[in-house]
Symmetry: C2
Amino acid sequence: MNRKEVAIGIVQLSCTKEVNTNVQKTFELTQKAIRAGAKIVCLQELFYTQYFCQNIDPLHFEYAIELKHHIIEKFQILAQNTAATILLPIFEKRSVGIYHNTVIVISPSGTIQGLYRKMHIPDDPSFYEKYYFSPGDLGFPVFETPYAKIGVLICYDQWFPEAARLAALQGAEILFYPTAIGWWEKEPEEIYSSQLSAWKIMHQSHAIANNIFVVAVNRVGKEGELAFWGNSLVVSPFGEIIAQTSTTEEEFLVIMCDLSQIEYYRQQWPFFRDRRIEAYQDLVKRFGK
Amino acid sequence: MNRKEVAIGIVQLSCTKEVNTNVQKTFELTQKAIRAGAKIVCLQELFYTQYFCQNIDPLHFEYAIELKHHIIEKFQILAQNTAATILLPIFEKRSVGIYHNTVIVISPSGTIQGLYRKMHIPDDPSFYEKYYFSPGDLGFPVFETPYAKIGVLICYDQWFPEAARLAALQGAEILFYPTAIGWWEKEPEEIYSSQLSAWKIMHQSHAIANNIFVVAVNRVGKEGELAFWGNSLVVSPFGEIIAQTSTTEEEFLVIMCDLSQIEYYRQQWPFFRDRRIEAYQDLVKRFGK
């Protein structure tokens, strides 16, 4: 088994109300991660703003940006200068009246290689995303980078095994989940640990069921009624958490992932050989037969 | 939220080479579980034999039984006498030359309510199941019992999120996995804990992703090159392990499950509301688009 290693960078930050501050802080840590060897850097969901979806307010649409924008260009130049792939999660203004929760895949040449538009949109107390984001219409694309074939999903997609499976079936070796998840202060603290635990388990299960690396990048800090729980993590193709950030601190990590483990585990646990694809047709139903 | 409680019984045993001994031992513990209040009792995979699939040997087909057989009748009478539902995992002789790894759902009136025939068939060193079992052709059925609506899957199905999802979409409130899984002595002991951990995580993930109860019933004891790892468990609809047996001991457990938790968690985490069913069609592909 020949090792095929790639260094993954993740950047975990708190956000202020000042977009410029968030952009600058993120830019500096992204630079540091790349200097430390990272070839693919993933930033947190909606990285340049606070998590505005905890309120329904039409003024927040001002945070949406088009694909030609100086914030994006700043990271395109960084990618080009360093030959890194950067996953840039933005609030995308696709058109007047159509907005998405989007990750831009910036190639090592600085071009926009492609987009992932969040497919599963939550709508729960303090997470009113259906108000802001049209559901993605690009499916579950996979991106060939010089370093790895990657899938990109976003936050709430974490809870849907279908999304991870579809990316893996397209050949994803690493699945990235830029994220904004935290505890809601109106819920009792007793359930906090079970929420964090369930969230971790889902990432681990995607890694195991598909024998791929899974990376989640979450924010930290208190914003309004939400305390974002950090715990950004990297999971091995057999579900082991091989790196994890803190619950409260701003930090970046660079983690070496050996992609040859994927084939090793797929030979040990040949789930892809054994899927009963002729019996799965009801997965496209809402409920029942 | 009105509580709707059901007591689940699980029976974890080692198996000898003597079928009669295994049947009698299992029968007694099933009785005890029912006396302790269990309304639905789940036994371990292929409960009346050792795990013969670790060798390829045509003589082992002698263990296969038809649906009319004194072993089954013994448990039908027990079910009828106690008004319990019993999940009886057998090696089914369906016809000359067609054998299945099957669970019989015995109703509280003692009749055979239905069958689940294992859909995902493993075939790995010491687990040569493709030699013995035709893949199931009954899909992922769900059974309405007086106590709960239940799905039944078997062992290796544990690794496939599709199977759990399909049962949940048919309305399963509790998913049972009779199981025979253990450590293979030819593998290094260092990986034992990661295998057990991955196995638990998958059950937890099915419970979380579908907000249902998940029950796994595994055997214990050393048979040939395999050390079955027990750890039978019951998982809550948010992924918490609420009961677990030991790694090595024969035992039964009776666990109270409050089915009203399912609706509670589905309102808190409305994954079924948000599945992107129009984008899942490639799940029926082996690989690629």
